[in-house]
């Protein structure tokens, strides 16, 4: 990159299935206060620009931009609200800093999924209104179809997908932020009710409320603010076609492309050896395996066996989703990617407590926008 960029502050409001005590504004405020305290900055004086990632349909408010500034300390300041995943927000902040016009940029995303009473209907509204929506099937069928094709193309056993759930929800037990820690077995996952075969209920991430705020700064400013900046080494994002009728159902091409863009920015040739751990979208259990392969962290078709052998466990050779991922923390709508990035930052700082990975130096975060999208974003961080 033409200019150094680092994450110098992180904050959160914990991830829980319901949060009736706080409004979304109070949740954002809590996360923002933590992040500014962590970065040692005053948002009213030290921040040049703010980026929020939010989707009007998830908020229940048209033109949600209007409701963003106050609780972030962004009143009377440059603010933009974009749709996408939280990592797209990181990308927007990085680009602003790369222009040379901004030194400190704040990124925020949140989920109040529990406030959306008709969440499945909102999700269904993402389907193409002419070709797909009239069929009136729950959009999770897309995950079921993709999972079937992925398993068929790679020969991955169902048990490997179930093991992802077992691993991630066990990791979440060591993460006080996570809302869905659990001690499960492969049989528990396989025996849970079918949602869209071969997808079972426990192989789908439940939703959670929560907020994450991050402070990014240019190299010089970052060094002045903190002695432990977490550097953004590479970032990338990509989409595949929206057509359900003609997708590469077995592979996540968007993840491959987003990963390649991030690797090339970071100068990474061999991701498996140059990266120490990853936080990777696991909205559905098989997605973690499919994304691992697309991101070149193992060979196509090997993610399942690798997972069953324990290679991606917390104590394994390449820990994946030490936070618990979306399966263990809860799916945070537009904030999902920032939850992935948050864990990478905590691990690289050595602040991950009982789930700390030893000698973590380079980490990857990858987010997917969920069904029916083929929208992915990746970021590589180092300490």
């Amino acid at each position: 990159m033409i200019r150094e960029v680092a994450i110098v502050g992180v904050g959160w409001s914990p991830f829980r299935s319901i949060t009736p005590d706080l409004s979304y504004k109070e949740m954002m405020y809590e996360a923002a206060v933590r992040a500014y305290e962590d970065a040692g900055i005053d948002p009213r004086r030290d921040v040049d620009s703010f980026v929020t990632v939010a989707e009007d349909f998830n908020e229940g408010t048209s033109i949600f931009d209007e409701y963003v500034p106050d609780q972030l300390g962004a009143l009377h300041r440059p603010v933009q609200t974009i749709t996408g995943d939280g990592i797209h927000g990181i990308a927007a902040a990085v680009m602003q800093i790369l222009t040379g016009q901004f030194d400190v940029v704040v990124v925020e995303a949140h989920s109040k999924a529990s406030n959306v009473l008709t969440l499945p209907h909102i999700l269904a509204y993402a389907m193409d209104p002419v070709f797909n929506r009239p069929l009136a099937a729950h959009p999770y069928f897309i995950a079921g179809m993709e999972m079937r094709r992925y398993l068929a193309e790679t020969g991955t056993p169902l048990e490997a997908c179930a093991q992802v759930v077992v691993k991630n929800r066990a990791n979440a037990l060591r993460n006080p932020l996570a809302g869905y820690g659990a001690d499960l077995t492969i049989d528990d996952v396989l025996a849970s009710e079918p949602i869209a075969e071969p997808l079972t209920r426990l192989a789908c991430a439940d939703h959670a409320d929560g907020a994450v705020v991050m402070v990014l700064a240019s190299g010089e400013t970052a060094r002045a603010l903190t002695d432990r900046p977490i550097w953004v080494r590479g970032i990338g994002w990509a989409n595949d076609t929206f057509w359900l009728e003609s997708r590469p159902w077995g592979q996540a091409r968007y993840a491959y492309l987003a990963g390649q863009m991030a690797y090339s920015t970071a100068g990474i040739k061999s991701p498996r050896t140059e990266i120490d751990f990853a936080e990777i979208d696991d909205t559905f259990a098989y997605k973690e395996l499919q994304h691992l392969e697309a991101l070149g962290l193992c060979k196509p078709g090997e993610a399942g066996a690798w997972t069953l052998e324990g290679g991606t466990e917390l104590e394994g050779e390449f820990p994946v989703n030490p936070s618990g991922g979306s399966l263990g923390e809860g799916h945070l709508l537009d904030c999902t990617g920032l939850a992935r990035v948050l864990e990478v930052v905590l691990q690289l700082r050595g602040e991950a407590g009982p789930r700390q990975i030893e000698d973590a130096e380079v980490g990857l975060a990858f987010a997917w926008r969920g069904v029916p999208t083929t929208s992915g974003a990746a970021v590589i961080l180092s300490n």
């Binding site: 949060t19 009736p20 005590d21 706080l22 409004s23 979304y24 504004k25 109070e26 405020y29 206060v33 005053d42 948002p43 009213r44 349909f57 229940g60 500034p69 106050d70 609780q71 300390g73 009143l75 109040k112 529990s114 406030n115 959306v116 009473l117 008709t118 209907h121 909102i122 509204y125 209104p129 002419v130 929506r133 009239p134």
Partner: protein, 166 residues
């Protein structure tokens, strides 16, 4: 040029009625229940009791209504609630001759921001004016809340029916 000029056919109501123009319709099922949180939750509870309440920023001293748990100017937390009067002054208003869904009406609705007595200057409640001749409404007019009967209040901004001249 001439080879680029085509005869055109206008779409008529009949074309739609007879199904010659195809389209998809869909009614969204979008329902939400927002957690009111600490500040607004308290505000709504007080409305149910027939009272207005604000919060005071310990840093800048502003008394804010509707209440909030942080000051958007100072970016500091707030935990002091302050009782307010249910009277105030019209800061600005409009005479609105269409309903929210654009139906024309003869007697205008009069939305107004009312600076509430006890709150800092410029801090008010967005509501409607009633029991007033539209032509008589002025900036600076003194008004008071007209409340629903206690048994009909439900903890909503509509627990105040409207503000009327003092």
């Amino acid at each position: 040029m001439k080879e680029h000029v085509y005869e055109t056919v206008y779409l008529r109501e009949k074309d739609f009625q007879e199904g010659r123009v195809l389209f998809e319709t869909w009614d969204p099922n979008a329902r939400y229940a927002w957690d009111a949180g600490i500040a607004i939750g308290r505000f709504l509870q007080e409305l149910k009791a027939g009272r207005l309440v604000g919060t005071r920023c310990a840093n800048c001293g502003r008394v804010m209504v509707p209440p909030r748990m942080f000051c958007e100017h100072c970016f500091v937390p707030i935990d002091e609630f302050v009782p307010l009067e249910d009277t105030g002054t019209v800061i600005t208003f409009s005479l609105c001759y269409v309903t929210w869904d654009m139906v024309r009406i003869e007697e205008p609705q009069i939305p107004a921001v009312i600076g509430i007595d006890g709150a800092s200057p410029g801090m008010g409640i967005m509501h409607l004016l009633g029991e007033v001749d539209p032509k008589a409404v002025k900036i600076g007019m003194r008004v008071a809340a007209v409340w629903k009967p206690p048994e009909e209040r439900e903890g909503a901004i509509t627990d105040i029916l409207y503000f009327k001249p003092l």
